[in-house]
Symmetry: C2
Subunit: 134 residues, 2 copies
DNA sequence: ATAGCTGCAAATGCTTTGCAAGGCC
DNA sequence: GGCCTTGCAAAGCATTTGCAGCTAT
């Protein structure tokens, strides 16, 4: 993905296209769907030769999440995954390996969701299918 | 719930019915469905006048989980909830207040789940409906 | 008696924060 | 120049662990 495009996306989100943010966004958005922890992204970006601190990776991931560029997935107490696929879809989670996999969007027809309790609205529904070895 | 019954359940799980475990299990199992964090349970059991350490609460919660007496629910990065309702059901999660609520079992017909990837089997499928204020 | 539990405190792992220095517009 | 960002290190939480002492059977 061209730096220019990423640069524009960052600007559109109100984020200045700094070297760190460009590098992180490029890694996240250039490949296909990915599921990464902050630590994994940190390792990647440093291997790519960019100087970044882990704190900045966390900060950027949250900024990107807020901007709708990635989505946070909670499957493991004490570790957050970030998903570069922000479209409606669900996940397999293989606990033994800590691996997240997308379930194609259409595969689970959630049908009619139950009504939200009084005074609240549904933000989103997510399905997690936990796997173990056969 | 009679101490005797709880005692038997612990024994059946291969756990010695110690004072701490009896107190914790009684709090968890005597009332209706509940969603508690370790810290919440710790506060309760101490208010009930029982001497327990937080470490023991964690240990017991995991033992109870393994024994199928409670279920762990992961909705919040960095905090685990334990659900005393171990039957098939799903959850509303209100992020603003950190409140978990059961969705009655029949309300979400998950229908045909997608096949698990090669070499894996489905452990269980859970649906989390995230809520925000209207 | 003895295998299993518990408490405490220390350690761990992930994540966040405070603040001075640096970079983008 | 001014404001936003970053880096580093320290702080913060929730959770786990090691180990000596206690307890249920």
């Amino acid at each position: 993905m061209a730096d220019q495009i990423i640069s524009d996306r960052l600007r559109a989100a109100g984020l200045r296209p700094t070297r760190q943010r460009l590098a992180l966004a490029a890694l996240l958005l250039s490949a296909g769907p990915r599921h990464l922890t902050a630590e994994m992204l940190y390792d990647e970006v440093r291997k790519a030769g960019v100087t970044v601190s882990l704190a900045t990776v966390y900060n950027c991931l949250h900024q990107f999440t807020q901007a709708g560029m990635v989505r946070e997935v909670v499957v493991d107490p004490g570790r957050s995954y970030f998903d570069t696929n922000v479209s409606e879809h669900h996940h397999f989670y293989h606990e033994a390996t800590g691996t997240l996999t997308d379930i194609p969007g259409e595969t689970i027809p959630l049908g009619t969701l139950p009504a939200a309790p009084e005074g609240k609205v549904i933000d989103r529904a997510e399905v997690i299918i936990r796997l173990r070895d056969a």
